[in-house]
Symmetry: C2
Subunit: 462 residues, 2 copies
């Protein structure tokens, strides 16, 4: 039933060339030499030895003829160490100064990487986010990219140098202050630069081999996906796959940047994220739905508003109260007149939704404030839940998918508390202790596994 | 015989006001609020605890009403740790990337200091060298300041904020690359900012109480100087006093910036460096020469060119060869027809000079290359020497000074190998083992000592 292409793409002699094969032939004739943007995370440059190894990998790509831009995160635990220092001098550090502090991390790793490359005989030059033209708004700690003006990067590439760029950081348009992009910021830097420079591919190096059909720690024979579409990757990221942050995938989709997620500890190809990647790859697609994989997320909690009056506008009032309080509630919602878990009066309904655990207390507070006005009975907060999601293109037009999905959960004796679906996803909320069993049974039912056990590296799953 | 004013200056209620007392009354009426530039070295901000203590000191000054600009070095051993990392990834790191790397150090300390000040309730904002307008040439690792354009610092001060500026760093005018100013760079940053902002004083906080009449580790009853002139400070710095770098004093003199060298570990006044500071301070000056102190330096070596032909132009050829090789030889030179230490042929002379030990091998190499052409016999290299210098204004017009100086050395049985003098200095080269005895005997002969033993802090003398 699984139709992800395996082994149909020839191993590229030159990355740039290989990725240009994805699209217009016209592009190939325009771009004389390929341009590859690579991003290395903190664990890939955690010490001098690893920095030297990454430098060798970059040099090998450059020597094959492609231009290379490298985006790098801070070394290993540097960011945590700097945060700890900040806590020691101030209980509530200002966001502007925190950004100034944290950006020292990438400054160190990028300079060291440039030195390591130079010592291998190639030209390399490092650039801060500001120097690389990452223009952002002024929201310190979670700045949004407004514009990318990589003039200095282009100049370095034209001189034949490898450009090393600090990930995660930028400069605010209004105040010219140093900003940071927040979680997953370095991936976003890489994709934004790749888009602005019209790179052939953005390679995201991490400590796992790519995107898997399920978390290999739960499903040992989970299979690495060779290709996945932006839409599927968005759902995977939103539903708990940690390998790429949602925001970075959104950026890649908007600017149609091919993203190659791969391991910095091996030479294997990883997972290529592109527009509708898997569809045309095999003949089987006309017959079967294409299932990408099973994602799970245990970081959310369930809030139930018990005994809402069964009349129009009540649900809207509940969600308006939460929105006004800035609570980021999940799309997964079920409104039923049958009470979830507790008995309710006739003519009343329960509303359940999930929120990030961090927002839980805030959500309950916001709801209790409007209880008299809305007239519901009480709120129930439950942290012991998990989400399990099946993601795949063309799911909606294959009714058999839902039947197989819920059949697998029923066979495993797993109780489903909330259901949510999209064009390419089915998600359920289950007890958190049921998450591993649910992932395994769904993964097996769709025959997503490979022959071998997946390689899991030290520190994987970050 | 010593006439440095002690205790004649009232202890200032507000630093800005106190220092304005030094000069034109007109200035006082123009400057409504004082402006103090303070510089804290690496040992003053070595950990979170010390950063908090420095923050308290800064806040106290600000609360007295003066505007404050703070220049800060990297925390403790950060620079050395970063250099060690660079060595691990590259045997010969590029100067541009080394500057990028090292400037992370001040970025960390300045952000932490700004946070610590904010947590005490005052506004603080940190600025990189580039943001502070420290425009330099492109000589990475030893950049020269070309211009200072502190628009953002002025804006921060106008908003009532304390401006924290990264020492040691700037941005190159041509390439817009990050540069560092080399040794003593943070002091130079502070003085350059003070000059550009027309500050009332530049306070250099260090781990000793100020400038002493001699190194307190050699002369326990050495006395702290309350005031010293730029010229004397220049000679002291050039002759081995480590407390202020030569370059920073040169800058201060050129722009007439009063520099107050003081300890960050005590509340005592330190040493004020200004134009002709000591001259008018007491009645005694008309009668006596003003001796500032005794400096020493053991970091040089002596090179002797033995048996030079005694004819015109030989010395010039020797020094041209050294200059062409970029050897930074000391001004102290003695050309004698009497050989130094070894017997020479009649009609031949020896030329001796001192060089920094690091340049020694290079100097010998350069000389050996021109030996056939010049026709001298051989070169002798001697690391076991030290320089001892007596510094004081008006020395030249007091012949008694030389007599007392050489008499003291003779009484102590110390052999003098080279002599050099300037308007305000007498220097001699002696055996390195004779340095402590020479310093003590000269210090005693001029009665430079105080009643008490000088306070020496852990790590002093840097």
């Amino acid at each position: 039933m699984v139709t992800v292409a395996v082994g149909t793409r020839p191993s590229p002699a030159r990355p740039g060339e290989a990725y240009r094969g994805r699209g217009a032939a016209a592009l190939r004739s325009l771009v004389a030499v390929g341009l590859v943007v690579q991003k290395y995370g903190g664990s890939s440059v955690a010490d001098a030895e690893r920095i030297r190894r990454v430098a060798e990998r970059i040099v090998a790509v450059r020597k094959r003829g492609d231009s290379v831009v490298v985006v790098v995160s801070a070394m290993g635990d540097t960011t945590d160490e700097l945060l700890a220092l900040a806590q020691q001098v101030s209980p509530l550090p200002q966001a502007r100064e925190l950004d100034m502090l944290l950006t020292a991390g990438e400054r160190i790793s990028m300079a060291l990487l440039a030195m390591a490359i130079s010592s291998l005989g190639l030209k390399a030059r490092s650039f801060t986010g500001s120097q690389a033209g990452m223009i952002t708004d002024s929201a310190h700690g979670r700045a949004r990219i407004i514009d990318v003006t990589p003039g200095r990067i282009r100049a370095a590439l034209e001189e034949g140098a490898i450009a090393i760029v600090a990930g995660f950081q930028g400069v605010s348009q209004d105040t010219k202050d140093v900003t940071t992009l927040g979680r997953g910021g370095s991936d976003t830097t890489a994709v934004a630069l790749a888009a602005s420079l019209h790179a052939d591919v953005c390679e995201i190096y991490t400590d796992v081999d790519g995107v898997f059909t399920a978390d290999p720690r739960i499903v040992p024979h989970a299979r690495k996906l060779d290709r996945v579409s932006y839409e599927e990757m968005l759902e995977l990221a939103a539903m708990g796959a940690k390998v790429l942050m949602l925001r970075c995938v959104e950026y890649a989709r908007r600017y149609d940047v091919p993203v190659h997620v791969r391991s910095s500890f091996s030479a294997h190809d990883g997972t290529l994220v592109t527009a509708k990647a898997a569809i045309q790859s095999t003949e089987e697609t006309v017959e079967h739905a294409i299932i990408s994989g099973v994602a799970h997320d245990r970081s959310e909690a369930k809030v139930t508003v018990v005994g809402c009056p069964d009349k129009p506008g009540v649900a809207a009032s509940v969600f308006r109260a939460l929105a006004d309080a800035g609570v980021n509630l999940d799309m997964i919602v079920q409104v039923g007149s049958v009470s979830v878990g507790t008995a309710s009066q006739a003519g009343r309904a329960d509303i359940s939704f999930t929120v990030p655990e961090a927002d839980g207390a805030h959500a309950i507070q916001a709801l209790e404030k409007v209880r008299p006005e809305i007239g519901f009975e009480r709120t129930v907060y439950d942290e012991h839940i998990g989400k399990v999601s099946l993601i795949g293109a063309g799911m909606k037009s294959h009714p058999g998918v839902s039947a197989t999905f819920f059949g697998a959960l029923a066979d495993a004796g797993i109780n489903v508390e909330i259901i949510s679906t999209s064009e390419i996803r089915i998600s359920v909320v289950v007890r958190d202790s049921d998450v591993p069993g649910a992932v395994r049974s769904v993964h097996d039912a769709f025959e997503l596994g490979g022959e071998d056990e997946a390689m899991v590296y030290a520190g994987s799953g970050r």
